[in-house]
Symmetry: D2
Subunit: 437 residues, 4 copies
Amino acid sequence: MSEFFPEVPKIVYGGPTSRNPLEFKHYNPDEVIGDKTLKEHLRFSVVYWHTFSNPLSDPFGAGTAVRPWDDGSNSVPNAQRKARAAFEFFEKLGAPFYAFHDRDVAPEGKTLRESHANLDEVVKVFKDEQARTGVKLLWGTANLFSNPRYMHGAATSPNLDAFAYAGAQVKKAMEVTHDLGGGGYTFWGGREGYSTLLNTDMKRELDHLARFLHLAVDYKKQIGFTGTFYIEPKPKEPTKHQYDSDTAACLNFLRTYDLLPHFKLNLESNHATLAGHEMMHELEAAIGAGALGSIDANTGDPLLGWDTDQFPTSIYLTTQCMLCILGMGGFTTGGVNFDAKVRRESFEPIDLFHAHIGGMDAFARGLKVAHAIIADGRLSSFVTERYRSWDSELGRRIESGNATLTELEAYILPKGEANKNASGRQEMLENLINEFI
Amino acid sequence: MSEFFPEVPKIVYGGPTSRNPLEFKHYNPDEVIGDKTLKEHLRFSVVYWHTFSNPLSDPFGAGTAVRPWDDGSNSVPNAQRKARAAFEFFEKLGAPFYAFHDRDVAPEGKTLRESHANLDEVVKVFKDEQARTGVKLLWGTANLFSNPRYMHGAATSPNLDAFAYAGAQVKKAMEVTHDLGGGGYTFWGGREGYSTLLNTDMKRELDHLARFLHLAVDYKKQIGFTGTFYIEPKPKEPTKHQYDSDTAACLNFLRTYDLLPHFKLNLESNHATLAGHEMMHELEAAIGAGALGSIDANTGDPLLGWDTDQFPTSIYLTTQCMLCILGMGGFTTGGVNFDAKVRRESFEPIDLFHAHIGGMDAFARGLKVAHAIIADGRLSSFVTERYRSWDSELGRRIESGNATLTELEAYILPKGEANKNASGRQEMLENLINEFI
Amino acid sequence: MSEFFPEVPKIVYGGPTSRNPLEFKHYNPDEVIGDKTLKEHLRFSVVYWHTFSNPLSDPFGAGTAVRPWDDGSNSVPNAQRKARAAFEFFEKLGAPFYAFHDRDVAPEGKTLRESHANLDEVVKVFKDEQARTGVKLLWGTANLFSNPRYMHGAATSPNLDAFAYAGAQVKKAMEVTHDLGGGGYTFWGGREGYSTLLNTDMKRELDHLARFLHLAVDYKKQIGFTGTFYIEPKPKEPTKHQYDSDTAACLNFLRTYDLLPHFKLNLESNHATLAGHEMMHELEAAIGAGALGSIDANTGDPLLGWDTDQFPTSIYLTTQCMLCILGMGGFTTGGVNFDAKVRRESFEPIDLFHAHIGGMDAFARGLKVAHAIIADGRLSSFVTERYRSWDSELGRRIESGNATLTELEAYILPKGEANKNASGRQEMLENLINEFI
Amino acid sequence: MSEFFPEVPKIVYGGPTSRNPLEFKHYNPDEVIGDKTLKEHLRFSVVYWHTFSNPLSDPFGAGTAVRPWDDGSNSVPNAQRKARAAFEFFEKLGAPFYAFHDRDVAPEGKTLRESHANLDEVVKVFKDEQARTGVKLLWGTANLFSNPRYMHGAATSPNLDAFAYAGAQVKKAMEVTHDLGGGGYTFWGGREGYSTLLNTDMKRELDHLARFLHLAVDYKKQIGFTGTFYIEPKPKEPTKHQYDSDTAACLNFLRTYDLLPHFKLNLESNHATLAGHEMMHELEAAIGAGALGSIDANTGDPLLGWDTDQFPTSIYLTTQCMLCILGMGGFTTGGVNFDAKVRRESFEPIDLFHAHIGGMDAFARGLKVAHAIIADGRLSSFVTERYRSWDSELGRRIESGNATLTELEAYILPKGEANKNASGRQEMLENLINEFI
Ligand SMILES: [Co+2]
Ligand SMILES: [Co+2]
Ligand SMILES: [Co+2]
Ligand SMILES: [Co+2]
Ligand SMILES: [Co+2]
Ligand SMILES: [Co+2]
Ligand SMILES: [Co+2]
Ligand SMILES: [Co+2]
């Protein structure tokens, strides 16, 4: 049980005055907020790719990560040892969930058949470790972007074979996810986009992408997998422009191809800001469409134009997320998934603990602040009151689709001018939020 | 006929070697490209707001525009004189179309009734001038954002009266547009968005916006107006976040509320780039949905974060636009509408001519280049060839929805690896474009 | 004393549990932190332009501000009444300082002489009100950008007369600032920049700008004004590119023209981020050069590309500012100047109070947090420890300029590889900051 | 001579009507423009790192580059074979120059001594190949950012050993550059910057950076290397914030530490735009300080926030560059260095030819256009005329430092208002540029 992080104890709750970097200051998993424990509200999940498979390289330099359990080989035993290290990490951290891509967990073989077999060997360890620890799979997915075969995309590749290969990979990844009792399966658009429009038939590529997702929907039914299908928007990187660029683009795509009933969105903070939206905007846009499923909790650097995938530490950000999530009634199959990585300079195993503890504390605070704001009631009362004029006879007529422009003209012409507006009170409301932070 | 721009002759085509700033170098209206004249292809339109009503102020300084026909009064006769100056400009420039908001052309009165009456007085001049010159109205619209009554939006205002007032204003503007034989009517979302999510019920506001557009659709039918309804995306400014932020957001909204059959998009270059998309992306996204109607032709400064609405002069940009527009078969009711303004430092009437001549020449060149690229055929052949693998038996099965993941796996497992990819040849294609510029 | 804001009492400290929007939750002016009171540390200043002269218009709409003391006339008595309203505001808010441009406070006349006279009339009221209330002038300045005469810049105008006029205006504004006992005088580059490089002789314009500042330095000496000269960087807006774009550009310019001894920087948060820098970067860059003088405290919207000048409410931002300011030993002549404006939708006088109270509370919290972090010592110890290897014999030799590349090679060649790096611990340090927030 | 690119002939000039992708359309090396041949004007240089050492990986996927001469080993013979392939490429392309980092050309050994030895082995091939082909070294440099030892920077590392190692590496790279007759040596700041300010002593790091450069200046003198030292600004990536962020930051740094006499700038287009400046701005800023040395010719994607290092194909960009470079009298030791890489999807050797041919043609056109604009004279006359008022008695007095504010006031007060401004004519000038494109 203490093979891989011998110096790290089980992370416990030390309270706000603790100065121990390896204790939670705010995340007390069994504390009840409203009708649920923090653990039930937040459903934290650790991602395998950044935390266990990312060498911490960047485009200008080699990996720096020091991972004592990794012998550097591309072997199955090495992958299995990494899996056990991962579960020790999940357990010590107290994360109830994890998430992975097929290629994060097992080495790619020389053939697809070999890759399948490698994956199966590691999944056996996952099964054992899940049973031993109670940690569950939030969602699985397939990596359809790293191998050069996917250079032009997978479902949207001009190369039919890339599509077929991707289909076979998704089939296997879905089976494995199902087998592990995963709560969902995520489609992130990897290289589904373009490098230049000059060589691209965008319409045909989108048609192919829709066909691909329909194939997955069909197969899900066939194997009886009842987890949620998530689609994760991102506007750019690695491609110049990804098709699933933001919530609106995903919803429009899903509506166009009759896929909306089968998908919910997995929204990532850093992808939201790269697309020019606040995370709260994306959350509300998805919630308004009944389509929010889960979140990838991280943060970007607002001054950098790439996906920095940093651990979230801003209480403002976590409060906004939790206001939305509490507002929609909380997660069902989804959770707070840390799609975040330590900086390249934070290369030691202990940094992985600092990073996750900080993110979990930040979300625990965000939850508490959001709950308090909702309980206080002033914010929501203000908003309700602001639309009061619509709760009139005329307002109701318009909202129910029974008014006409002629009627509106007849109402306003004799008045000559509209009733006065009220101040939007943005500054007062921003101060109100600060009362709780 | 030469009352307002006495020193400016009718702008004629001088050809590429002309060094006269008041001659076209490339726009020869009656020259035939493919099956149409340049005039028919490009359907240039001058906007009233920037060219005749913009004082060239900015947030840091007063207006600089010197407009000899403007006596500075807010009177109807002044507005009528401006109208005649505008038509002299359209005529000398040789622009076959123009576009306006209600409040650009006539002063706002103390009551809505008075504003209606003022508008009617100017519209009379428009009618006369249209008859005299043959210049036509590309589209009309209503200004639902300048008056403080619209501070919180118009259709999305929490103040019911703002909605009602906006409805009455749109009713009148549609009537006037119909009366002038306008080819369309445009909805740009002015302040339909928010300054902060803290005080905003986004879902309710979007419901109201949809109701508003349905009211307009109903009234259009009622009065027998057969022009096209356009919706114009813009991501931000004046609000922090506009609901109609880009093509995808508009299409998603229109689909959600069963409005798609009634609207086409009017895409503006500068709004595309502010939303993080190339204009060509937005054009192709709209064309793919059968929803491209018209374009607002301008350019932004890629290093500035606001809508600079500059006149387009990049042949690369105009070529890309015309590749898309020729690709979809050309405009029907829409056109190339210069929603562009001269810089605050270009404050003399002659600058308006320089600016439009430059924009028209740039689009004429873009048209010629795009036509030549299409006639050459290498670019489209390359793209077609790139997807050749899909024209196979398996490709057809997938495209027609008759494949399964199991079948794909059965195909690829024995192969072990996908067929090799071909180079995307981006650099070669960029060079190919340069062959024609 | 209660003429203009009759419903607003003197703003008092209510403490963190107060729910009264018109009480301070954290700013207790006489509370001592370290060796000074909060009032002495923070030296809050209200800006006249945004708070008393901004109509809250934007490029898409008319002003919305409701200011009962303003009769809408461009008269001196109206300006004097506004001055008294302003001092009532300063007093009720408890702001010890204010700042203004010449044209904010008094109407521009038909001639410069008339403008001077108008200014003098309002300055008399300022003098009386300063005496009555004890409120002081943090700094004065001249508006060299709003009038069309400055369309091409003032000191950098190609029009010599604009330069001369600007010189005369600065002369007067310096005299008035001196007369009012102002602690400083600020040069913000208004339109000192360009709209296009095509028409610009950048080198000649920069030479002129330097001459202009030297003229001011000379005149300062002549009249015996001992306040600080500040230069305020901003990268863009209103011009496409301002010469004083950021701290580095200002320092380089000042060094080039032998002006560095005469100027300190006034750094604005929103200008920092528009230039692509964190405010903390700009502060440290200026402090490193011994050139930080004062700050314009506001915040931008990281998703918007223009200067939103919002009131600061993020405790992270204010903590970072105060870490730097405490680190350099606090302000001398400078202060925390709220160069911030309420949103266009926050148009009532009471919104001005909400906004300033929120900003003052945010900075008071930032000060307390920063002080606690410094007192705690872990952060600075970590940094010191991180550079420990430099406190060696070789480190000292290098730092003092006594090493050579040959010596370095001789040291490292036999070792073959450098000593191991230590983790940068970014996540742990971010968590540490959160311990104090 | 045709070992590595057997199907590619020597690239010849085919003229503007050529449709052969392997011919120049505009770059005719011996054609004379003004007083020099195109070859002498443009001094094209190929970069070793992108063209011969970049595997075309990205943060989301493995390398795709197919390079038949590369056996995949990290051996010296493999590196030597690559060197011969590179010179065959230079020769067939007709590039007179190349540039490299130490680690691009030879494998890093287990010790620094071994790395030195590996480098020497490859440099022997370079010497032979230079002699055989006449191709010259534009500049050399050392890679001080890829190895994990440099994770915290090299000259600015908190780890003294990283500094020492970097010093030894620079010493060797300078020797090698000198030995190969290189025209210059470039310092690009790799990781000289920070990931977070929380763990950074910015002032101490900048002091170290200055010391490092002084060491290099001393050693240059010692070995008698007379080439130019270049410093290359870049604002971010790989670090969050690089110290040499733009021209102004570099000049300010160089002035602060008395280094300006020893350095010129190597400006890269994509770095300029990442820093928020047009390339033309950076060029003029450097030229104004007498500090422009060379350019890294590429282009960024204005919608992407990272360094895409694309080959330049916009004639507008190349025209602007050449207007500046011709304006300063042309290059001396510097040149047009293609610090650009083919897209990851352009993975075949032939793509390297397409890319360079396109970039060379684009710069040849830019040169011809710029020369024609200068010969035409209208643009520069307009600019000169615009500042005419400064060529007056008063203008001369101000420019020579003999005026006072009092004198300016005495001049303008009686006039009351400044002389009228003239229009900036931005649109006319943009059209003028288009006359030549
Ligand atoms: Co994610
Ligand atoms: Co991400
Ligand atoms: Co528009
Ligand atoms: Co626009
Ligand atoms: Co400011
Ligand atoms: Co500002
Ligand atoms: Co470079
Ligand atoms: Co670069």
